[in-house]
């Protein structure tokens, strides 16, 4: 037993890059990975280049103003916000993932899926409800003041408040990626450790956590990219971050070039960060030995430990889901009398269609891209695959313009060619087509599905590739027959993340949708643009309800598998 165990753990822990394998694979299909990766990266690269081209148009006056009066504060704010959110989502995400993936305690089955629910809430909606409840004129402080003459020492509208709200919406990214990593390790790891006399706590710190690190960091990067790109939440808190400077330059100082330049800088910083992260684990492997379909055993918690676990999960669920959902539901019911009509079927249908098609397309692209990188694990390839995922860190509206400008350009070319050759008046063919919307979503959300898929792929041992290769199964066939079946969990995780993100997506939808083609998120926008937040609760609630579909699906799959 000891022998098997040590071999097992060793194979998981030893970072063994096998350069010879990599080289063989690389030589076998030198151009093939590039043929896959390059077009996918172009989807994001083109909008990024549009954004970066703004540097050709210097905005000296605005930059002088920004650096003197605006940027110093904003950079400090942004820095502390990132630190706070990073700490918060890691602690919440990892602890909840560990508890629900490995342990058994009262309510653990419920929390396993319920803790995903906050993800379906748009961040700014969460912010609005929290502010409505706890801001100085909010329901709770007003009630405390009138009943007990008590004034809370903590202000909701503060750095701490922003961080709290962001952590509550964004922890599911870490939770999901970490949980699928812990699930992959399975309870056997802990059993094995226990048989060696290592306590579960030590096993967690010494074995499970280091093994799950790539997945955790991948989820963390997603949460941080989303934090950086956020505008809705910080503007409700009037907390100025780097995004504030971007929108200030564009909407207030009327300089789209200056806004794009700021966004360009943001992208370069993020690119460096993600490359560093990729570099850090480029030469390490976190592969597991082949998984057997044995039902995962769980660590059964008892007594006060079990109670503490239930309380912790329940507390987070309460803060992140129950607290915002109570006012949303009340407002939604109130405004339903006035606003709910048959059109909502269409809105929900459109949202569902876009989210389904979009997430499918993104999953396919993400798997191909990750596979290309696996086949040719070079620095150049890493840069290309990282560029493909950068769209997520750009403030949405800036990216939307970056997507729109090339599309409008193509349409103009098309129209002009028609006029020139056939003297024929034509209309735009790309603009307002679903294809453009979907490609826009790819540019924005590829990161969301790439992260879990890449880390999932990394957990598959390279020896599998070699074995397949030696049997003459290579290229896309190998991907389909070997990797995709093993990646199923990661792919579903990725699809669920994309699905809810597309449900919530606004700027690209607004900019590229056909006439009269509204979605639930667009309804939220229509209401909030004139400050009618409570009327926005109805479409927001529907977003959550439709967003539940993939969560239920994931959960159903999990439990079916668990029973087998």
């Amino acid at each position: 037993m000891r022998d098997i165990l040590s071999r097992g753990v060793a194979s998981r822990l030893t970072p063994h890059a096998s350069p010879s394998t990599v080289k063989i694979v690389a030589r076998f299909s030198l151009s093939f990975p590039w043929l896959i990766a390059a077009p996918i990266a172009l989807l994001t690269l083109i909008p990024l280049l549009v954004v970066l081209s703004s540097f050709l148009n210097p905005q000296a006056e605005i930059w002088a103003h920004l650096t003197n009066y605006v940027l110093p504060d904003l950079l400090r704010n942004t820095f502390w916000m990132l630190i706070g959110v990073a700490t918060g989502v890691t602690v919440l995400g990892v602890s909840l993932a560990w508890l629900t993936a490995i342990c058994e305690f009262p309510g653990s089955r419920f929390f396993r899926w319920a803790l995903l629910l906050p993800m379906a809430l748009p961040a700014y909606v969460m912010a609005f409800t929290w502010l409505g409840l706890f801001d100085i004129t909010g329901i709770v402080p007003m009630w405390l003041r009138s009943e007990f003459d008590l004034i809370l020492p903590l202000q909701m509208r503060s750095r701490g408040g922003v961080i709290l709200v962001m952590v509550l919406v964004f922890y599911p990214y870490v939770y999901l990626t970490a949980r699928s990593a812990f699930q992959g390790q399975g309870g056997r790891l802990i059993e094995a450790a226990q048989s060696l006399g290592i306590s579960p706590a030590r096993a967690f710190w010494r074995i499970a956590l280091p093994l799950a690190r790539p997945a955790i960091i991948a989820g963390l990067l997603l949460a941080l990219m989303e934090t950086l790109a956020d505008f809705g939440t910080v503007s409700l808190f009037n907390y100025d971050t780097f995004t504030t400077a971007i929108y200030k330059s564009w909407f207030s100082l009327f300089s789209l070039p200056a806004a794009s330049q700021l966004a360009g800088l943001l992208i370069i910083v993020v690119l460096i960060a993600v490359l560093l992260e990729a570099q850090m684990r480029a030469n390490r492997q976190f592969a597991e030995s082949v998984r057997s379909p044995v039902k995962a055993t769980r660590l059964v918690l008892r007594g006060s430990v079990a109670l503490a676990a239930s309380c912790w999960c329940g507390f987070i669920f309460l803060l992140a889901f129950v607290v915002p959902m109570v006012p949303i539901t009340i407002w939604a019911v109130q405004s339903a009398v006035q606003d709910l009509d048959v059109r909502y079927w269409t809105f929900a249908g459109h949202s569902l269609l876009l989210a389904t098609l979009g997430s499918l397309l993104i999953i396919v692209l993400a798997v191909l891209l990750a596979y290309a990188q696996r086949m040719q694990n070079t620095f150049a390839m890493r840069i290309v695959s990282r560029i493909a995922t950068l769209g997520y860190a750009l403030p949405g509206t800036v990216l939307a313009v970056g997507v729109f400008i090339p599309v409008a350009f193509l349409d103009n070319v098309w129209i002009n060619i028609n006029q020139w050759l056939w003297q024929r008046e034509t209309e735009q063919i790309f603009q307002g087509s679903l294809l453009v919307m979907l490609l826009g979503y790819c540019a924005r959300f590829l990161a969301v599905s790439y992260a879990p898929i890449e880390t999932g792929l990394q957990r598959i041992s390279r020896s599998m590739d070699e074995a397949a290769q030696s049997l003459g199964v290579a290229g896309l066939q190998r991907l389909r027959r070997i990797h995709v079946p093993m990646l199923r969990t990661s792919m579903l995780t990725a699809a669920a993340l994309c699905f809810v993100d597309i449900m919530k997506e606004l700027p690209i939808t607004l900019m590229t949708r056909p006439f009269g083609w509204d979605t639930l998120a667009v309804r939220v926008f229509e209401m909030t643009s004139e400050g009618e937040w409570q009327r926005a609760a109805l479409p927001a609630l529907l977003i959550v309800l439709v967003g539940l579909l993939p969560v239920i699906f994931l959960n159903h799959r999990d439990s079916v598998r668990g029973m087998r």
Partner: protein, 340 residues
């Protein structure tokens, strides 16, 4: 998984390839609107019912709409840009996105200070940015002008919405037009020194803060006040019209507009012009302004009863286009004095 993909992939491909796109017919008008759907759709429907002219529209924020018009260039399907705030309309002219239209009825329906001096756009509803005070803590006689809120007697008694909202940028821009930059900077600095709490995210929050005694007075658009009062008529807040008895003939309550212009490359400029004239006419003005409790721009049209109940006021008469021209200056000024 495979079966699922097999079933769904053909659908994916066919749907994404099918361009649901833009099919605009000759007699249709296409509107790009930053004014939200529930405020404009009833008007479009009414116009279609009356004239048979169909209206296609798309809503988005002003910035993206203008970027979109610019990228589409000569081939834009849009005939009309409908947006909120004179600053944005000014910017549309600045970016050469609109074309002038002239008509006697437009000149008659829209007062001179509420339209572009070069006829590129016309205001369609008036939004007054005024003061709201706590009736238990402030006597109306204590209040006089926006400028006076900078005086030390208002220390810790003032609430303001964030300077990032264009409404405040326009207000400060118009003050620059009236007083010059140096004096305005002093006034805004005074405001910031008098703040009782950090600037708030929206006008509704500012009114709630006043009603709950966090501060005594604030500056907001009237329709937010209307909305709050409709929900809770008992609140101890009231409207005050500032800058009424000032020697300067042009001074008065700060007003802004929502308005529209015909796009430079409109396919259907004549129909678009007719529609804008119709929007400014007596028939349409109440429909346009009332739903959001704004003031009609057409002097012959009375506001809805709830709005009329706030009393009449003398508006500032400087052309609202000035707000756009001076907006960048105003924003930089507010940044300098630390108005967040």
């Amino acid at each position: 998984m495979k079966r699922f993909l097999k079933a769904i992939l053909p659908i994916v491909l066919s749907v994404s390839a099918s361009s649901v796109a833009i099919t605009v017919h000759a007699d249709e008008i296409v509107v790009y609107s930053a004014r939200n759907e529930q405020l404009i759709k009833p008007l479009f429907d009414a116009y279609t019912a009356e004239t048979g002219v169909k209206i296609q529209f798309i809503t988005d924020k002003e910035g993206p709409l203008m970027a979109r018009l610019k990228a589409e260039g000569k081939n834009t399907p849009a005939d009309i840009l409908l947006t909120v705030d004179a600053g944005n309309l000014w910017q549309a002219v600045n970016e050469k996105l609109l074309q002038p239209i002239r008509s006697p009825s437009l000149s008659e329906n829209v007062p001179e200070n509420l339209r572009d001096p070069d006829y590129n756009w016309y205001g369609l509803s008036v939004r007054a940015r005024t003061m709201v005070y706590n009736t238990a803590k402030v006597k109306p006689s204590d209040l006089s002008s926006y400028e006076a809120l900078a005086e030390p007697q208002w220390k810790n008694r003032l609430c303001l919405r964030t300077s990032k909202k264009v409404y405040n940028q326009s207000l400060v821009a118009m003050m620059i037009a009236e007083h010059g930059e140096a004096k305005t900077e002093k006034i805004v600095k005074g405001w910031v020194a008098n703040l009782a709490t950090d600037p708030l995210a929206d006008d509704t929050k500012a009114i709630e803060a006043v009603a709950n005694g966090i501060c005594d007075v604030t500056i907001v658009n009237t329709y937010y006040f209307g909305r709050v009062m409709k929900k809770d008529p008992q609140l101890p807040v009231a409207i005050f019209w500032p800058n009424q008895n000032i020697a300067n003939q042009e001074a008065g309550v700060h007003v802004n507009v929502s308005g529209a212009g015909v796009t430079r490359y409109a396919k259907n400029p004549e129909a678009a012009k007719k529609f804008i004239i119709w929007l400014s006419s007596e028939k349409a003005q109440n429909l346009y302004a009332d739903e959001n409790m704004e003031f009609p721009v057409n002097p012959k049209v009375k506001p809805v009863a709830a709005v009329a109940a706030w009393g009449s006021f003398k508006p500032n008469l400087i052309n609202v286009a000035t707000a756009g021209e001076l907006q960048a200056k105003a924003v930089m000024l507010m940044d300098r004095v630390g108005y967040k």
